[in-house]
Symmetry: C2
Amino acid sequence: MTIPLKDSSDPSAKAALARLEQIKGQLNLKSSAMSLQAPKDMTTERAAADFDIKKLEWLWAGGEDAYNLLNFSYNFIKNDPELVVQPPRNFLEMSRPEAREFAMGQIYRTTQLSKDKALNLTKQQIDSIVWATNIYSETFSMRFFVHASLFRNAVNMLGNKNQQDKWNTKIENLEVIGCFAMTELGHSSALRDIETTATYDIATDEFVLESPTVTSSKWWIGMAGQTATHTVAIAQTIIHGKNVGLNWFIVQLRSQTDGSLMPNVVAGDIGQKVGHLGLDNGWIQFHRNRIPRKNMLSRWVSLDRHGNFSPPPNPAVMYATLIPERLSLVLVTTQLISQAIVIATRYGVVRRQGAKNEQIMDYQSHYVKLVPAISFMYMVKTAQKDLDEQFSILTAGGNMDPATYLNYMGEMHAMAACFKGLTGWYSSEILEDCRRACGGHAYSSYNAIGSIIGDWGVMTTGGGDNVVLLQQAARHLLFRLEQKLKFNQYPKFSFKSPTQYINYAEEYLGNTKWNVSDVSQCLGNFSVVEGALCTILVKRLNSIQKNLESGMTHNDVLLESVRVAEMHCAVFLFSTNAAAYHKSTADPALDKGVLSIMNRLTVLWGLHILYKYSDQGFKEGFLSPEQIKDIEYIYFDYCKSLRSQVIGLTDGFGYPDFIIKAPIAKYDGDIYQAYFDSILQAPGSVDIPPYHEKYIKPLTNQLK
Amino acid sequence: MTIPLKDSSDPSAKAALARLEQIKGQLNLKSSAMSLQAPKDMTTERAAADFDIKKLEWLWAGGEDAYNLLNFSYNFIKNDPELVVQPPRNFLEMSRPEAREFAMGQIYRTTQLSKDKALNLTKQQIDSIVWATNIYSETFSMRFFVHASLFRNAVNMLGNKNQQDKWNTKIENLEVIGCFAMTELGHSSALRDIETTATYDIATDEFVLESPTVTSSKWWIGMAGQTATHTVAIAQTIIHGKNVGLNWFIVQLRSQTDGSLMPNVVAGDIGQKVGHLGLDNGWIQFHRNRIPRKNMLSRWVSLDRHGNFSPPPNPAVMYATLIPERLSLVLVTTQLISQAIVIATRYGVVRRQGAKNEQIMDYQSHYVKLVPAISFMYMVKTAQKDLDEQFSILTAGGNMDPATYLNYMGEMHAMAACFKGLTGWYSSEILEDCRRACGGHAYSSYNAIGSIIGDWGVMTTGGGDNVVLLQQAARHLLFRLEQKLKFNQYPKFSFKSPTQYINYAEEYLGNTKWNVSDVSQCLGNFSVVEGALCTILVKRLNSIQKNLESGMTHNDVLLESVRVAEMHCAVFLFSTNAAAYHKSTADPALDKGVLSIMNRLTVLWGLHILYKYSDQGFKEGFLSPEQIKDIEYIYFDYCKSLRSQVIGLTDGFGYPDFIIKAPIAKYDGDIYQAYFDSILQAPGSVDIPPYHEKYIKPLTNQLK
């Protein structure tokens, strides 16, 4: 295989550039009124921002220093041919083998940065370069994440001190490349049914790993296809002939020297996928594969030489790694979906179409989709920070008393589950809206939205099926409500828990009708909105609870439960941002312009939820038809009021053009020639096809 | 380029098969309880059909003879290596160059069938083989459609008798390969703004075609990338220095001998797209390109030697080809989306997961998505037939009086527009639901859903942006309502017009509340449902009309209008099927079991619309919270009652496994080994990757 992805100084790239110029010489690339207007529109839109865009970029990046560091990294990777595909080659044109090689090359390159003394990079800078490369390539991000996060977290959250000491250095310098083998061909959401076994052989003090059937094959395992030398694998643990439950084991898959499979391991590549072409997902089978006893991860369990096994204090701790995994997937929302929003937004302001040659962004069908999507990105960003802090309380919780720990754990698990569920689904909707907002041009791979959609596809089922996650969250909410209403119990938390409103359930249940005659009160008052939303939530939960008590099954109320869990998470985003961006409670150091726009985005988000879940309020008889019409009117109108801010707000994400990749979303708005260029760079774009002689000429030339 | 897609008797295919067997020898492919249960479940599900599946297949195919003919064709193409990719190669693994060559090879092969006397095929059989190949490959379908439908329809609907005579034979035998050049880089929905010009040069009796700017480049043109020798192109027509409007011109693009571009034409390939890899979409520029006057399509216009131009009787006739184009896109729904539904449904009944090892189809989140999707396919199939008949009245309408013709045209245009809009969007939703219903396994390209989604992507913006189309339909509805309410005018049609309910607008407006206390009345009575739906439609249209009269702009009510137009189309589907499958009005020859299941699907569709658009009813104060809750309950419950029929219903589409392609959707339910096989067949699936030496070994072997 030839890898046509080198820097532009190599001869084949030079030849490609020369060919491109020659084709362009034959074309009429003269500007039109339309193409001249586009950059002017972009400039006008940018100038319309009611805030200092730079300061919003700081907020998004996590502060001025973080912003500067990230921009240093963007500049660093931009011209590095091993981290970023250099023109005239196109990242969006890679085949599977090319993408896999390039992604591994990126990983390799990041490991070499510290060794190149001439570069003189700090550890912080190198981490930031990795982060910038994550943002550039979701495939790199996922591949790096499998090793540096999934594998490493398993060792550190589930392994004991000795195991951590043994493996952490090897993980750090990639002497081992690790993956995370949980899912099997026949088993994903139902971990209980995992078929792989690890049987303790007391004679040799080893575990024997076995894949007993076709459906027990580990499946989808990232990096297992071509790369990983080691894995953590979950398996049914058999000791003295008895199944003591699921445990995690470190297993070597491939030789660290020549990459060949270890004896008694068979593994391979999963082949073509809808996205993540550069990630080598794979499958694994173990056949009487022997590993030492000490390879069983033993922070929470233990097994001595005589086969005495102590189970974990709570089985849930064995899956605790899933919480940071889900929070990471939420983080991907802000780094990936935001890019699609930039593309649709920028194209939307420079594209003009219609009777009065309108900017397409001026159509209601456009801004009522994109403005809430932009708001969602900022809402998620704030909430994600909050949850990270809460999670750090949990991980520091080794010394908590067990009851408190499990209460925290329950809250975190439910919140991570519904956060991943809501962001997964709403992001899919946003991507579809972005795709449609770009019209036909989203169908070109070179405008990047297709690749984002492909990469995103895995998110609504991977890392926990969203229906299952949201149902788990709903059950947690129903449990909290039942505890409150029946036993007047609600735990004390040291932070603002996402379920806190349930502590006031009786009060909310007492609200028969929404006592707001002028819905525009929602514009100035977060507590009016929050009151309505929490009332609807509690009433809905209570109705579901009653249905269950009257004999309906959990399955009968599944769709209702899932919808309420979604809404719960949407309200959590609102509450978190309302606290962060209310004038009276916001960080006093926050720039006034930024505070003001974040406040407006929060108002919009509140209206968005009221609108989107108004059926929930109507079903409960809480909202009247008039109120529902008013909510719609005010929501649409508030979207319109933020229409002028869309460029400033999406500039706030701070992405350079090479990260976004799409020519129709160029920062300067000068899109048409750039788009044509990307098309002309496609291999063979103006050649007679190789099949002409065989299939075309015999037809078109038949009578001559 | 090597094309690795030959029949299984060639040596490289044999080697691949041998390699595959060797790998399988190392694997444990023993059955598990799960893999053994799957085919048993499939058999049980199939036996549960309340009707004769074969007879439903006849209905879907258009009768027993049509069914037999299509099955003959499926059997014919199945083993033809030029029409269907043969194992171990995989249709879903092709690169862009491979896919483009294969699709043109398919076209070539279909032209040779009549020449091969040994095959002894009738014209009808050959047409059916083309049709079966369409169903096998959406790329082939689209590529064939561009020439045989878009190009040919333009010549026949817009060209005069001489032009038809001149071109039809060449089109028939593919001596010319035609395409359809409408869209430009800068212009799609707004045809008025097309920039390409055709200037009449009276001195030479020629038109001079010109692409004056970058944005005037014809863009996305199917088959223009590599294949087409000719195109019809729309251009601003300049005669004696005056723009006389848009006209269509036949222009040669490439030499029929060697495929090289004609002088004064530059064209090329649009490169990588989200789907339709085998379709060579392209761009075209004309540079002082001279064509004879007689190449202007002149059925409705004329231009004499002196430059005297007669415009069309109505500008709309110049776009009449868009109506059959849109109806064709609706047809694609039934042939493509139905395949995704088969995949999700079959996988849903054989996959078991959960506390009680449930079939995942038994989850409410599953069947409430898939049962309505299945119903939708059958509803569309019936309505599409109806509209085809109506369209044939229109095309036969050369002798109609102009007022009648334009009334028909208005109805057809509005109906085709909103039908394409509704099916486009609802199908996208269905695909997303199908994808999610397959969990992670939809992420494997080999399970086909990804490819269907990729191909489908173009449908919500191509062939008319859905927002624009639905808005056009809404304006037509508002116009009819205004005519009725203000002037008591409604046209007489010789068929049941989709807008007929507007003729009873006053009556519907008089219904203040839905006078149905027991919503289960909807189960037995189509007219109860139709009455409610039409009331809601008329009330919503009337409210929008009032908002417009009170000063709101069309843009202010855009999203509302679009939603009402969607609902209008959904109700049209209901009415059409209610007439076809009501015991008192159905074709008496219809099999009783088939009639019964079609009746139940129609009941379900009515409930689906009531549920989905219930917000429209409560906004109008027509539906109460109690009624809304009852509708939801009865709708979910009716979905559940059809849950047992899903295999019979999807078998009704009659697709053989090689058409469906997805191993997780095998007819016999024995999915796991087949799925593993498809993975193992991926090139290099168990090889050490070529980049091991370069990127992996230096890391993993660093300390040795």
